[in-house]
């Protein structure tokens, strides 16, 4: 059971609803409290299982057709709606004794208003659908990468090729990836290459390199650019930038047909420095 004092934080942290300060405070507590760490992991697993499995029901093709037909009918009906007989302006004035400028408002609505409302709805829904789909893809892709980073750190064998030598790590990927990349020299820097491993994202092979700075680990994912890849989804929504995701610092960029995403719990300046070294190494 988690500590009573932290229960509220535990849930808000799992739901990504903490302020950055509260998240940092809770993460510090997690490092010292195995009970809360296990609880956080359990909640995260429950959440992930729900996200993965609860999309259970799909509308049948028949139902989709019926709905599309119904909505078309609704729009058509909206177009025809002004068929009701309206009193003339003279009749209204005569009946109400009001001047022309104060006619009852329903008769002031132009006949094309329902059509305009229909078009506005279609545009709004299309825009919402586009934004939402893109946002979802980004969230899923980012969650997958963060999970891979965390799983790597928790693993007894975090990398497949263990070496601090870039001339050992890079050739290990030869024949395993349909692309190649350059790695920076780490001597005389605060960073240490731990190794690398082959990972798959959306069924495509990618490289995961693990570096250490101080007591923190940094994962670097390198993949070929592809419209369907997780990297492309992440980059397409937010562009090349540095930001925080669930307390992790995330840096990403594109270069020469490759996408790079870095994830770490260290501060953003450490991540950005390594990113700059990788960018420099990639330049001819």
């Amino acid at each position: 059971m988690s500590c009573d004092r932290w229960q509220k934080h535990l849930q808000a942290y799992t739901d990504d609803s903490c302020t950055p300060e509260a998240a940092a405070e809770f993460e510090a507590h997690l490092r010292e409290c195995p009970a809360c760490a296990v609880e956080a992991l359990a909640l995260e697993r429950l959440k992930r299982a729900t996200r993965t499995h609860a999309m259970r029901y799909s509308p049948s093709a028949d139902f989709q057709d019926r709905m599309a037909e119904m909505l078309r009918g609704a729009n058509a009906a909206a177009d025809l709606e002004p068929a009701v007989e309206r009193p003339t302006a003279k009749e209204i004035i005569r009946n109400t004794g009001k001047r022309k400028g104060t006619l009852n408002w329903p008769w002031m609505i132009p006949q094309w208003a329902p059509t305009l409302a229909g078009v506005a709805l279609v545009v709004l829904t299309a825009v919402m659908a586009g934004i939402w789909t893109q946002h979802e893809a980004h969230r899923e892709a980012m969650a997958e990468l963060v999970d891979m980073h965390v799983a790597t750190l928790a693993s007894v064998n975090p990398v497949d090729v263990v070496s601090t030598d870039r001339h050992t790590v890079k050739p290990w990927f030869a024949g395993k990836l349909p692309f190649t990349f350059n790695l920076p020299e780490m001597q005389n820097s605060a960073y240490r290459l731990i190794g690398g491993k082959l990972v798959y994202l959306d069924g495509r092979p990618a490289a995961q390199l693990v570096y250490a700075v101080g007591k923190h680990d940094i994962s670097v994912f390198i993949s070929e650019e592809h419209p369907a890849s997780s990297f492309s989804k992440i980059l397409s929504v937010t562009g090349e930038s540095s930001r925080r995701e669930k307390g992790f610092t995330v840096e990403r960029w594109r270069d020469a047909g490759l996408s790079y995403v870095m994830i770490s719990d260290t501060n953003s300046s450490d991540v950005q420095t390594l990113a700059e070294m990788l960018r420099n190494a990639a330049r001819p």
């Binding site: 299982a49 996200r51 499995h53 609860a54 999309m55 029901y57 509308p59 139902f63 019926r66």
Partner: protein, 160 residues
């Protein structure tokens, strides 16, 4: 049709019946079309349409029945667990999760689905369910405890 497939999935979880879910989604879209003028720009479209769906369900006999079965003070309080369900979840099948969700009271099921599947913020859930944010958090906490209790029972009882 934005959110169509997700609304249908949510409707199925609420009604537990595909036919009723289809009617519910159909009514929801019709009401959304008619009430589009009441949608204020700048407010949350997703919370708005989910609220329509849920309110529509609440007016059905099935909806009234399932929502009346649980009061906020908590007649339903399954055993709080530590983490034995962790192992179950680690190798969990889709069916295990479905069974647990089906057995949850509707109020718990919907708040878990809105938070974990639809990934709504507490504020969005509060708008959808028309309850305060604090109630969202406490209901979510109880819902997850209940869910974990069910998963634990399944692990011990072999329901998975």
């Amino acid at each position: 049709m934005p959110l169509f497939a997700r609304l249908f999935n949510f409707a199925c979880w609420l009604t537990q019946d595909r036919g009723e879910a289809e009617e519910l989604v159909q009514d929801t879209f019709m009401k959304a079309l008619k009430g589009f003028r009441s949608f204020e720009q700048g407010t949350n479209f997703r919370a708005w349409i989910y609220r329509i769906l849920r309110n529509t369900f609440l007016t059905t006999r099935a909806g009234l029945k399932v929502y009346d079965s649980l009061d906020e003070d908590g007649a339903y309080e399954p055993e709080s667990t530590q983490t034995p369900e962790l192992l179950l979840l680690a190798r969990s099948s889709r069916e295990t999760l479905h069974l647990a969700l089906e057995q949850l009271p509707a109020k718990f099921r919907e708040v878990i689905l809105l938070c974990d599947l639809e990934e709504m913020s507490y504020q969005e859930i509060a708008e959808t369910l028309a309850i305060p944010t604090g109630t969202v958090m406490s209901r979510l906490w109880r819902a997850r405890r209940a869910m974990r209790g069910l998963l634990k029972d399944m692990g011990h009882g072999g329901a998975a």
